[in-house]
């Protein structure tokens, strides 16, 4: 089976941009660059299939700063191959353009069975790329998967649903987006994987390698246009207790609650 996993690299949301210039790239170090959390869940989904029935897993990264770092990590986790897709002209804040690039990447990769992605891009909070890609490829898909099971005809997939869970069956050639469930909790990298990642040669494909015209994928081509991006200044003040022995911390909390006249009981 051939699986393609699309991952994105983001500036970890642990990096707080409150009160600082949101666009100050100098504040971001390599350590702050991480694989988008649910994309890592998608890698895990692919590796589970690789473990159980053998699969060639190709990780592809289009979006983010120094995607090479994310791709090396994907290989260190156990992916077979990695491809970096980069072009200065790319405007990937529009999920429509991102999905368009993904389509071309899949065409160049050639044969594939399953396409896996995360459920959301945590840094831009875009949820649209998986559904857009499935629609462009015109293949069956399930979004927000929580578990997958191989069956004769393909997969049986349970996905998140308001008020419970829904189970559907899909053929093997399909697209699945993977959520933050127990089934998809990502594994750690291994020593063997890290060595493989060191040796791995990761090709870089540009827009022209994919047969894309710049005018199709640059900012002018976007139909989702960003007008502004500003910090949300949280007015709420948090009484933060981070020092002291556990007992002192609890005492501090209770004293402050008393001072603020916060009622602790329901009656």
């Amino acid at each position: 089976m051939k699986i393609v996993v699309f991952i994105q690299q983001i500036v970890s949301t642990q990096v707080k941009l409150q009160g600082v210039d949101y666009f100050d790239a100098s504040r971001v170090s390599d350590d702050d660059l991480v694989i988008n959390p649910t994309d890592k869940n998608a890698i895990e989904g692919a590796l589970k299939l690789k473990d159980s029935q053998g699969a060639e897993v190709t990780a592809v990264c289009v979006r983010g700063n120094k995607p090479n770092k994310a791709l090396k990590e994907a290989i260190a986790m156990g992916c077979t191959n990695a491809i970096e897709i980069a072009d200065e002209a790319f405007y990937t804040d529009d999920p429509y353009l991102l999905a368009k690039i993904y389509v071309k990447a899949l065409e160049k990769i050639g044969e594939y069975d399953l396409v896996l992605l995360g459920v959301e891009e945590q840094s831009s909070s875009s949820f649209a790329a998986p559904a857009m890609l499935a629609e462009m490829l015109n293949i069956p898909s399930v979004l927000y998967a929580e578990e997958m099971e191989t069956i004769d005809t393909g997969f049986r997939v349970g996905h998140v649903l308001e008020g419970g869970k829904k189970v559907v069956a899909i053929p093997q050639k399909a697209l699945v987006s993977c959520s933050d469930s127990q089934y998809f909790i990502p594994r750690y990298t291994t020593m063997r994987g890290i060595l493989a990642a060191k040796k791995a040669v990761i090709p870089i494909w540009s827009a022209s390698d994919l047969g894309l015209e710049i005018s199709e994928i640059n900012a002018d081509a976007a139909s989702l246009k960003q007008i502004s991006l500003t910090n949300i200044v949280i007015e709420k003040e948090t009484f933060l207790i981070k020092e002291g022995e556990p007992e002192e911390m609890v005492d501090k909390l209770l004293a402050k609650l008393k001072e603020d006249e916060v009622k602790l009981g329901a009656c």
Binding site: P95, Y96, S125, M132, L143, G164, L229, K236
Partner: protein, 318 residues
């Protein structure tokens, strides 16, 4: 502005966030013509009446056995049929699992992008400006969608439902759509409905735990604390997913919505899907990670291990 709203039904009722969108459109787009797209099997007249009350002027119904359950292909094909017939300028759905699946597909069928998870929009000239919180609600992004038809989803919990709606009976237009085998490649197997045996809506105090609780047995202390405070327990989907606790206690977009006076959140990171179900007067957080997004919402936070903090808290409260 002709606006088409994808109507979602849950538990035999019109889903809240859909009603919220109707209210938002009614109050912020003057002269809007609101059309509701109601798809399903055995559609009820009472839903149509309720839509009228909430400001929908026309309801397009498609009542077919194949639409009993949401599936991407059948639903997006049907919505395209409706779009072609009514020619809307703006197409919007509540950003539930189904809404977020549907809207991007419709956008692609119309060769354009969409705005997802909006919490507000404003009218600027003849276009709409969408407000979406990004990076775990650290920043607000304002966007505009360029295209003949504008597609968007709202973030659950973003818009209020009109408590005293006063609209009239809507006009009804009924259409039919034919499906082929290619539309049925994804097969519905079942919906496992979470049993809602405990109602958390009216709880004044909730002690909730997330993945940090690290096991079924550790819910004991959560229960004890809740009992001591005369409250209820709650949990994130991460906990109900692995059956550390019954599904009835799930709080958030796919669980219950709560609005207690006091919410104690231990080992919860604060994902938007969880937080959208929590409206607490006072939020106390216990988390080992100072960078967890939930700290931003907290009134009081202890950065520490819940397994040591909670037993001490319990002893002191006794």
């Amino acid at each position: 502005m002709k606006t088409l709203v994808f109507i979602q039904i849950r538990d035999d009722k019109i889903e809240e966030n859909t009603l919220g969108i109707l209210n938002k459109i009614k109050t912020s787009i003057s002269g809007a013509k609101i059309i509701g797209a109601l798809l399903g099997k055995d559609l009820k007249d009472e839903w149509i009446q309720e839509l009228g009350l909430h400001g929908v002027q026309q309801v397009v119904t498609v009542d077919l056995p194949d639409l009993e359950f949401y599936l991407s292909a059948t639903y997006s094909k049907t919505m395209m049929e409706i779009i072609n017939q009514v020619n809307p300028k703006f197409v919007v759905a509540a950003g539930t699992v189904y809404g977020e699946d549907l809207i991007p597909r419709l956008a692609v069928k119309n060769a354009s992008s969409c705005a997802q998870r909006i919490v507000d929009f404003t009218i600027e000239g003849d276009s709409l400006h969408f407000h979406t919180p990004v990076r775990d609600d650290q920043a607000m992004k304002i966007t505009q969608v360029v295209g003949d038809i504008i597609f968007a989803t709202s973030r659950p919990g973003a818009f209020f439902v009109d408590e005293n709606p006063s609209g009239a009976t809507p006009e009804i237009m009924s259409i039919s759509v034919a499906f082929n085998d290619a539309d049925k490649l994804v097969k519905h197997i079942e919906i496992k409905k979470a049993e809602r045996t405990v109602n958390l809506k009216d709880a004044k105090v909730i002690v909730a735990a997330g993945r940090g609780v690290a096991g079924k047995e550790n819910f004991q202390i959560i229960r004890e604390l809740a009992d001591l405070l005369g409250g209820q327990i709650g949990a994130t989907r991460a906990c109900t997913d692995v059956h550390w606790i019954e599904e009835t206690y799930e709080i958030g977009q796919t669980g219950q919505s709560v609005s207690p006076d006091l919410y104690i959140a231990a080992g919860i990171s604060g994902a938007p899907q969880h937080m959208s179900g929590v409206k607490a007067k006072t939020l106390i957080v216990i988390n080992t990670d100072e960078g967890a997004p939930i700290i931003n919402y907290a009134d009081y936070a202890i950065i520490g291990d819940m397994h040591t903090i909670l037993p001490i808290l319990k002893e002191k409260l006794k």
